[in-house]
């Protein structure tokens, strides 16, 4: 079964909206001094990327659990690679792209 152009477009839009939503939440809950739109989808979250640390990780875990109803456990550490990795994990866990309000 191949998706129609409209379906693909809708999926892409939902995904972009979700990515932007999470970036905004990240900036708010971590108090980052950066505009959400300047965070790259594949930019590393730790180290030289956004320079997050283990305390920030917990903040993201709590945020994802509260906002997107997805539980990240110790074994799912690869989800913290980048925004895309994080969202991939959320989408895989939910089996769909969660609808969010446009940022």
């Amino acid at each position: 079964m191949t998706a129609t152009y409209e379906e693909l477009l809708a999926t892409a839009e939902a995904r972009t909206a979700l990515n932007n939503h999470v970036k905004t939440q990240l900036v708010e809950s971590l108090g980052l001094e950066i505009r959400p739109e300047l965070i790259g989808d594949d930019q590393p979250l730790f180290g030289r990327g956004l320079e997050l640390d283990s305390l920030d990780t917990l903040e993201i875990v709590v945020m994802v659990e509260e906002q997107l109803d997805v539980t990240i456990s110790d074994d799912d550490r690869s989800a913290f690679g980048s925004i895309n990795r994080l969202i991939d994990f959320v989408v895989a866990d939910r089996g769909e792209i969660p609808q969010v309000e446009a940022a």
Binding site: D53, S54, L55, T57, V61, V62, T71, I72, S73, D74
Partner: protein, 181 residues
Amino acid sequence: MTTSAPTTPLSFDANAIRALLPHRWPMLLVDRAYDVIPGKSGYGIKNVTISEPYFAGHYPDQSIMPGVLIVEAMAQLTAVVYASAWLAEAGQSGKAGQSGETGQSGEAEVAARVGYLGAIRQMKFSRLVVPGDRLTMKVELGRPFDRLTPVTVQASVDGELAAKGSLTVSERTAGDPSGLQ
């Protein structure tokens, strides 16, 4: 931190708390803990007296318990809640701590594992705490991640909310003195 702990709530008097926590006077700020569900939640009491050392300077003409010490008291109650889970895990009876005699080595190990305050994620103070007040605290642990545990805490005096917020606490492990990175 898994919880194969008993489901009946536990109580800890000052002696049992001293066995679980490394803190001592003047920084041991929990007098009693009750309704403790190891690893999950618990209540605690801190009786505030005019003899507290910090009232000498906070302030000379008006005694007010410093907000950060209210936070510290709630963090210590949090430590009682998770340390009691370790004690249960260590194969001790959860009530061993009450006698203060049995399970000494297990308790020493538990006290050594008590970590640090990782973050004061959010906190609001809504009432002054003064000599004569009985601070009743409640803590609820969230799901731990990577040796860090989010906790929602609150403290009240006579049913009136004094402080409310959320903390992050860490677990200390051998070779990693801070538990943080």
